[in-house]
């Protein structure tokens, strides 16, 4: 059961244009959402996040939008740059109870490979 889905495996965008990466989720208990960026042969790095109590968070060229009723979030990159070419993972977290207390369980999507063409 894929609780976090990124239905577009790849996306190509011209330099300077907007890149929109989409993510859908099914678990209404998710309360925090994150985007990670991954270059080849490197580990994922945190990009931007949003709490479920917000519908938008902006950080420079990156904006994440959350539509809770549709269980959908998107990452906008404006303007896109060739250095943005990477795999982008959407992730969602929910508090899970374990013997030692609460634990933020994070579920990752399968990733979208973005190519920004110069």
């Amino acid at each position: 059961d894929q609780q976090v889905k990124q239905n577009s495996p790849s996306l190509s965008v011209q330099e300077g244009r907007i890149s929109i990466l989409n993510c859908d989720y099914t678990n209404s208990m998710f309360d925090y959402f994150l985007w990670y960026k991954k270059y080849p042969a490197e580990g994922p790095t945190f990009l931007i996040s949003i709490s479920s109590i917000k519908d938008k968070n902006e950080d420079g060229r990156f904006t994440v939008f959350l539509n809770k009723s549709a269980k959908h979030l998107s990452l906008h990159i404006v303007p896109s740059q060739p250095g943005d070419s990477a795999v982008y993972f959407c992730a969602a977290s929910a508090t899970t109870s374990i013997n030692s207390g609460g634990y933020q369980k994070v579920t990752f999507g399968t990733g979208t490979k973005l190519q920004v063409i110069p």
């Binding site: 994150l34 580990g43 945190f46 996040s49 993972f89 374990i98 933020q104 990733g111």
Partner: protein, 114 residues
């Protein structure tokens, strides 16, 4: 501040061999995680730890074991390697505090089981 380091970067194993993937973090994070990433797939959680001496299974724990004797180290043990364990393995850590959900990842270990 090195962050999360993993060794080795690449390893070839024969079926049935064993090995330990090392992971160390220097950020004094309470939480540590092991993921595997198969081609075209997302990150699957193998094991996690919420502090020294405390570990628990993730989504795909079969064939693996972990230990957490110190805050810094979280080694992953593969016993009796199988071709299905060919993957890229990522270790991560996070503070484990409310509002601090960001995980910091190591560079990964690429494992090939033949």
């Amino acid at each position: 501040n090195a962050g999360v380091t993993q060794t080795p970067k690449f390893r070839i194993l024969k079926i049935g061999q064993s090995m330990t993937l090392q992971c160390t973090q220097d950020m004094n994070h309470n939480y540590m995680y092991w993921y595997r990433q198969d081609p075209g797939m997302g990150l699957k959680l193998i094991y996690y730890s919420v502090g020294a001496g405390i570990t628990d299974k993730g989504e795909v724990p079969n064939g693996y074991n972990v230990s957490r004797s110190t805050t810094e180290d979280f080694p992953l043990r593969l016993e009796l390697a199988a071709p299905s364990q060919t993957s890229v393995y990522f270790c991560a850590s996070s503070p484990g505090l409310a509002g601090e959900e960001t995980q910091y990842f190591g560079p990964g270990t690429r494992l090939l089981v033949l």
